[in-house]
């Protein structure tokens, strides 16, 4: 019966960044913690009708936003570094 959340995934250079607007409460904690200051409010509304978040392509897929989201609304997948 596990619930399915629909994510919106963005590919950036270093990985994939997914926002689950159905989980995002628009608290902005992630935005503050992003080391690249690459996050901002999105037009997609979150679960409480407040804006959810989006990124721009300066994102380095560091995962910090995921780490600090109290609602697990962000998933970041770093691309495996190509082995030379």
């Amino acid at each position: 019966m596990a619930q399915d959340f629909k994510g919106q995934t963005l590919e950036v250079e270093k990985g994939f960044w997914t926002i689950f607007a159905g989980l995002c409460k628009g608290c902005g904690l992630c935005v503050q913690k992003c080391p690249k200051k690459c996050m901002s409010w999105s037009d997609v509304l979150g679960v409480y009708g407040t804006p959810s978040v989006k990124i721009n392509d300066e994102c380095i897929a560091c995962g910090i936003c995921q780490n600090f989201c109290p609602d697990c609304a962000i998933t970041v997948d770093k691309k495996k570094e190509a082995k030379h």
Partner: protein, 252 residues
């Protein structure tokens, strides 16, 4: 492959989004707890007890057996359970009001009796659930609903140093630490050690987690972090206070 939210495995997806406010630190503490439980693979052993306080909102948070108790009484409920069935890994989850005010006798006594339970206390410097009154952890000058002109240390005292208190009285075998949701990895590590300490039968395990309450702090995201990392860090020192060494089994 469709991406799924990176929730700890032991979180109950059906009850998400959870009931905490936007930006609430409870979600972060429970993420750290969930990750620690996942890593230890003990989801089926843990019984989670939540206090009355915003922690009660976690009564259906996990795919783990959960008991919502009374304000301040989670320590005794989990203690009673653990005493009755030592196979259980008991987690008592509470707020600073529940642990340091109304339930202080239970915290102190669980500590001196070295109850084999893991207590996690969320310090958000006030009473979240009831709308932001002064707590034992409220900082000097901090405005709350019952210290509307700022907490006056002279007449109402100083913020309770909980882990320090527990560390001062708990017998050998106890684990005591203070973590912060601003350092999730460390916090998860502390909680994990606290669970392991219980599993090893060493003694009481206590982690205070410095947390966030944007609702009652009336802070935006930026000030929320600032409140924690600038103001709270001044009064509450993050770190481990008691780490039991490897311990000879003395016929426990």
């Amino acid at each position: 492959m469709t991406v799924q939210p990176a929730m700890p495995k032991c979180w109950r997806v059906e009850t998400k989004p959870h009931k905490f406010c936007p930006g609430c630190g409870h979600g972060l503490v429970l993420k750290a707890l969930g990750q620690a439980i996942d890593e230890l693979g003990i989801q089926d052993k843990v019984v989670f007890g939540c206090d009355i306080g915003c922690s009660l909102l976690s009564w259906d948070f996990f795919n783990m057996d959960t008991v919502q108790t009374h304000h301040g009484r989670t320590n005794p409920v989990i203690t009673g359970m653990k005493r009755a069935n030592s196979d259980i890994i008991g987690v008592a989850y509470m707020g600073d009001g529940g642990g340091y005010a109304i339930g202080a006798q239970h915290l102190v006594s669980s500590a001196t009796r070295n109850e084999r339970i893991t207590a996690i206390l969320v310090n958000n410097t006030q009473y979240g659930m009831t709308g932001g009154q002064m707590a034992p952890t409220t900082m000097p000058g901090q405005k709350t609903e019952t210290s509307p002109y700022g907490r006056d240390a002279e007449t109402t005292g100083s913020p309770t140093q909980g882990p320090e208190m527990v560390a001062a009285i708990a017998p050998e075998g106890a684990y005591v630490a203070r973590g912060s949701v601003a350092n999730m990895k460390q916090l998860k590590g502390y909680i994990k050690k606290a669970l392991e300490n219980q599993m090893a039968g060493n003694g009481f395990s206590f982690v205070e987690a410095l947390s966030l309450c944007p609702t009652n702090w009336r802070t935006n995201a930026k000030d929320t972090w600032k409140f924690l990392e600038e103001d709270m860090y001044k009064y509450f020192k993050v770190g481990e206070l008691r780490v039991p060494g490897p311990r000879e089994k003395e016929g426990q």
